[in-house]
Symmetry: C2
């Protein structure tokens, strides 16, 4: 299944953004793009995931699956973020076994939301 | 449209749960249920929204709409939570004008996720 990796491209991560520099979220998007596309993962920059105090924020979602939001991400985390996104895409139900999740996903969860419109 | 109000029923909100007492999340669910159903809003208790350090957590979602997650909620917030859920249900696109959102939603956002599977 193709899943979506949402990245807040406007996040300042609590830092000032001096003229001539880019916000942390924009730099994170660039770092993810520079690592090249990951099969089954569509990178989608979005304006604000409303997790500003815990930015940079990223989210994983796909139809019929739990969505996950992670915070306090930086450019240096780009390889782990893509590895975690690939694992999410590869898991038949999107639920990656705990030990197989990147450490930043295990420790920096902001929230998860169950599949939308599914019965309890 | 009928929207879903997800409430983490297992949340301890960082408190110990002595024997014979109920976790904060369970008490929040009970407080919401006691206020009676809200037209257009389905209350759905879930086990863990993975926002444990910011609990109690609730989320609003519906097909084709942005999902919202809010944290640091307690029983005392039940009326505002239901008012916010009703506003979300009533808004044609689920996007409630900022000033019409309950204060706890304006100040205690944990994250939002765009409609799943929608194009950018």
């Amino acid at each position: 299944m193709t899943v979506t990796l949402l990245v807040c491209s406007t996040c300042r991560a609590g830092e000032p953004v001096p003229e001539g520099t880019l916000p942390a979220g924009t730099r994170l998007v660039a770092a993810l793009e520079a690592l090249g596309p990951v099969p089954g993962v569509t990178l989608r920059p979005v304006e604000c995931l409303s997790a500003c105090s815990q930015g940079c924020a990223v989210a994983l979602s796909a139809p019929g699956r739990w969505s996950y939001v992670y915070g306090r991400m930086s450019e240096a985390d780009a390889p782990q973020i893509l590895a975690g996104a690939a694992a999410y895409a590869a898991a038949p139900d999107g639920i990656v076994p705990w030990r197989e999740r990147p450490e930043i996903f295990r420790k920096q969860s902001l929230a998860r939301i169950p599949p939308i419109g599914e019965p309890t």
